[in-house]
Amino acid sequence: MKFPRIKGPRGVALIFLAFFGFFFLEFYGKIFERGVGNYLKWQNSERPQLGRIWERDRQEILAQSKIQSIRLGLDSLQEATDAIGSFKTMLEGLEPAFPLVLSRQKFLDLYYDFPGQWSTIVISPFELISIDSQKNWTRVLLKRFGQWITIGFLDPKNIPVHEIFLETDALEEVLATRTVKRGRLEESGFEEDRVYSAAVFLPVLRTLDPKTQSAVFPDPRWFLAKGYSLTRVGVRESASESDFPRHLIFGIEYDADYHTGVLLIPVPLEIANNMLSQIERTDSELPGEEFTTMTSPSGDNP
């Protein structure tokens, strides 16, 4: 084996000097540790985020994203609840597995916003006032279980202070079917020759007794509070023959600030015909309009 030759004492000295220099720098300047440390620092961003603190970070992110997702779900539920436009929709939209929670205010808004007496038949306003007198009703929980809907009035601890049980059949009652549609009367299936101006309709309405008035028309406050201006009234037969056999549909058209809407009200045939005959008398004084009494779509009607 051949060893490298040292060329004179200068070479030896140089080598020793180099080593001495390295050890000197290492001893006083920690050149090795700093070199490695700085090299690692330089390529820090290229390395993976491994280890306990990164794992904890990941867990934190995971936990927060779970919370975020729960919050999103609750927020969208809240938005859906806020968007409920009518007392009837609120009850109709209930799914058995998804109870609905409404604030007291929202519930009362919907309750009193119904264009008719149906909501007050479902829950008496006196019952509400009695619940309210306990001063601990903050929210309402609506649950559907089979054919039953439970309306629970909750205290701040979510304990029901009062519960009302409602059969889903009640949603199908004629009184419950007052609905609102966007658009003009014609778009809701009302024919032009059966559409009358508000000026013709309202005087006739005023002549009716209060009970009949409420069967034909909502509390005027419903229009006034919302800033709806009554324009026309139409009459047509029910779209589905089986829905309301002995009923006609009154369409009350109104103008809102940015849209036109129609409130659809099923009216018993007798009342409807009575009103229409009065309108005819009024109209007959006007040239060019004629009126025909309507019959119920069901065949057994006399």
Partner: protein
């Protein structure tokens, strides 16, 4: 010659240097791929949002994941010197690697052929704490060193020391110097005296063994060693050291880990982790508002401990030192909120939660479900007569079963209410024979009992294991006249900003008609007022209450499950090793003697200062006085009469009709519905 020797030395030197460089480079390239990235800052590494758990009465009962990081200025210089003296005396000189310490550790480890010393600098320890497992091996040591070198190159010495002080574990659940100072001395880290600082500096090396709460002697010896090191490293003069050793340590008393709330709290945490995942609870920073009433929980523990102590004195001494245990669950009937959950006599001695995890046979506490099934399915009433007598049940393939009454005494003809009050086993077995165990299981399931129940006749005597939580919940349904409220523990959960992310809503379900449940409730009132649970009255509990005792074979388990209008409480007493509870006289303990007194002591506290509230009587219920033996209307032959609650349609016949009925060969069922009675009358 000298030249050749020199050449050889230089060759070897070259070779070794080259090998060293190649080896170093090889090690680097092998391990650098797995090296973790360092964070941009060390300031926030200790911070995560703590999860807080609150009781129903507003007390913050548990905080998880809270850290108390402090800056170097807020740490006593005594501690900083002490920790450096004992862990890394060259901290300010090295760049992550202390050569001398490493050589010393290498020598020790190689000579002892195992890793005994780390020789780690503070930076290396921080590196280990932040990124690596606590497993000791060479690979991890090398990676730890490389990360330490980078830490040194990236952060200042002060930043590293501060992060280290806030990160290390000091035992007793204390992470970081601030928390350690609070736990051990009830003071801020900047206020630590020299001796206190030395003691704490000695802990990270051996946080459990040198813990002053566990081993005071060892911890003070370690503190002395730390002071010695400080003198040696010239951080301290000899005189100061002597002064420190003469000073008072002022060690705080250990934090009592006997918090009875922890049974409840840990159960809630387990449930949350099951439902949402561990990270949700540990790192979610959530606020959990529970149903626990800490005042009642303390009362429950006090009641259990006090009576267990009395029982221990009465019980025959045993060879093994296993303490008598108790479990108690209290549920608010109206809502189903679990207000108390006591899993054992003392949390510090045993963390096992007997209230939910230890399903033990319920004994006669199960009988109400048998009686209700019989009343619902067979049309029996509390006035129905059965014969309490020794019976022999043929079981195909095995020896006949001979269930006996507790005291082996039999009452003969007896109405069901009386049988329930006496807890007659033979009557219960006869009932289950008639209705079948399958039907009883169905009833129990409707009461919310989810534990496995044996489909056999002995179920009538409560041979299947159930938990106190299940029984409290099931009895709560009786108190609610058939409305089942699922027991719940969490009222609300909020995220760290206070937004609700979960709310519990009441969901009561009427599972049995009220007038079916009330007669059972009335029978159970009889148990408390004049039956096996009469100790409740003898101990001066005056509120209207109902319940049922339970004692299993050889007195291995003692139960009392009872309720008032507002609360249902289940109490279990027994040994963990399932041994009998025998008193010195040789008699076994019963549910009435072992469990009911705990119930009374607890309920007295719960209802202290509250009005006595009667159970509401539902519509369709009437009360009748009947002969306790024949179940007929009382007459001059009646020896004992009893008031029973009956459904309105039930008619109690006079004794003469009963005789006629017997002549007609009808069964011993003597209380009949109106139509049945008409039959009897019209067909004499």
């Amino acid at each position: 010659m000298i030249r050749r020797l020199g050449e050889r030395i230089i060759f070897i030197f070259y070779t070794l240097t080259l090998l060293g460089l190649l080896g170093g480079a090889g090690i680097y390239f092998v391990f650098s791929r797995d090296l973790p990235q360092l964070p941009d800052s060390l300031e926030n590494i200790n911070l995560s949002l703590p999860t807080e758990i609150y009781s129903a009465d507003g007390e913050r009962i548990k905080v998880r994941g809270q850290r108390y990081p402090v800056s170097l200025e807020d740490i006593s210089p005594n501690f900083l010197k002490a920790i450096m003296a004992v862990e890394d005396s060259n901290f300010y000189e090295h760049s992550g690697l202390d050569h001398l310490a490493l050589v010393r550790a290498l020598y020790t480890n190689v000579s002892q052929r195992q890793i005994r010393q780390g020789g780690s600098t503070i930076t290396q320890q921080l590196s280990k704490n932040l990124f690596f497992s606590f497993e000791r091996n060479w690979v991890r040591k090398i990676k730890e060193l490389l990360v330490a070198l980078q830490l040194e190159a990236t952060f200042s010495k002060e930043q590293i020391l501060e992060a280290y002080c806030n990160q290390i574990y000091f035992g007793s659940g204390a992470y970081g110097i601030e928390e350690a100072a609070q736990v051990y001395f009830h003071k801020r880290a900047k206020k630590l005296t020299l001796l206190q600082a030395a003691l704490l500096a000695g802990l990270p090396n051996s946080p459990n063994n040198a813990n002053p709460f566990n081993n005071y002697e060892r911890s003070t010896r370690r503190a002395e060693y730390v002071l010695e090191r400080m003198v040696k490293e010239q951080f301290l003069s000899q005189e100061k050291k002597e002064e420190a050793l003469d000073s008072l340590l002022e060690l705080a008393s250990p934090k009592e880990n006997d918090d009875p709330n922890l049974y409840f709290v840990n159960f809630v945490i387990d449930r949350l982790e099951q439902n949402y995942g561990k990270e949700f609870v540990r790192f979610g920073g959530i606020k959990v508002f529970t149903t626990l009433d800490t005042r009642l929980q303390r009362s429950a523990q006090k009641a259990a401990r006090s009576h267990l102590k009395t029982l221990e004195r009465k019980i025959k001494p045993r060879n093994v030192n296993i303490p008598l245990q108790a479990a108690l669950v209290a549920i608010e009937n109206q809502s189903g909120a679990v207000r108390v959950m006591l899993g054992g006599g003392s949390y510090s001695h045993s963390q096992f939660n007997r209230a939910i995890s230890d399903n033990r046979p319920s004994g006669s506490s199960f009988k109400p479900f048998v009686y209700l099934t019989a009343m619902e399915k067979l049309g029996y009433t509390p006035a129905t007569t059965l014969r309490d007598e020794p019976i022999l049940v043929d079981i195909p393939g095995t020896e006949p079963w001979e269930p006996k009454n507790f005291s082996d005494e039999y009452a003969g003809d007896i109405i069901l209410k009386k049988a329930m009050m006496r807890s007659a086993n033979s009557v219960s077995v006869k009932l289950i024979q008639e209705v079948t165990p399958r039907r009883v299981i169905k009833t129990a399931r409707l009461f919310g009992i989810t534990s496995q129940l044996g489909n056999h006749l002995s179920l009538a005597l409560g041979t299947s294991g159930v938990s106190p939580l299940e029984l409290a919940s099931a009895y709560s349904m009786i108190a609610n006249l058939g409305v089942y409220n699922k027991p719940y523990f969490i009222q609300r959960i909020e995220d760290f900003e206070g937004n609700p992310i979960y709310e519990n809503f009441y969901h009561g379900i009427q599972r049995f008609p009220q007038k079916s449940i009330y007669p059972l409730l009335d029978m159970m009132r009889g148990v408390v007022d004049g039956g096996t649970g009469n100790i409740v009255r003898r101990m001066g509990f005056k509120h209207p209450a109902a319940g049922k005792t339970g004692t299993t074979n050889n007195s291995k388990d003692a139960w009392f499950n009872g309720f008032t209008k507002d609360f249902s409480v289940s109490v279990w007493v027994g040994y963990d090793d399932n041994e009998p509870m025998i008193v010195r006289s040789g008699r076994g303990l019963t549910g009435g003697g072992a469990a009911a007194p705990i119930w009374v002591l607890f309920m007295k506290k719960v209802l202290q200062g509250k009005n006595r509230v009667k159970f509401p009587v539902p519509e369709g219920i009437k009360f009748e006085k009947v002969d306790a033996r024949s179940g007929t209307l009382p007459d001059e032959q009646s020896v004992e009469t009893m008031n029973v609650a009956l459904k309105e349609e039930v008619i109690i016949p006079p004794r003469v009709l009963e005789l006629e009925k017997t002549q007609l060969g009808q069964a011993s069922v003597n209380s009949t519905t109106t139509s049945e009675l008409v039959d009897v009358v019209s067909n004499p």
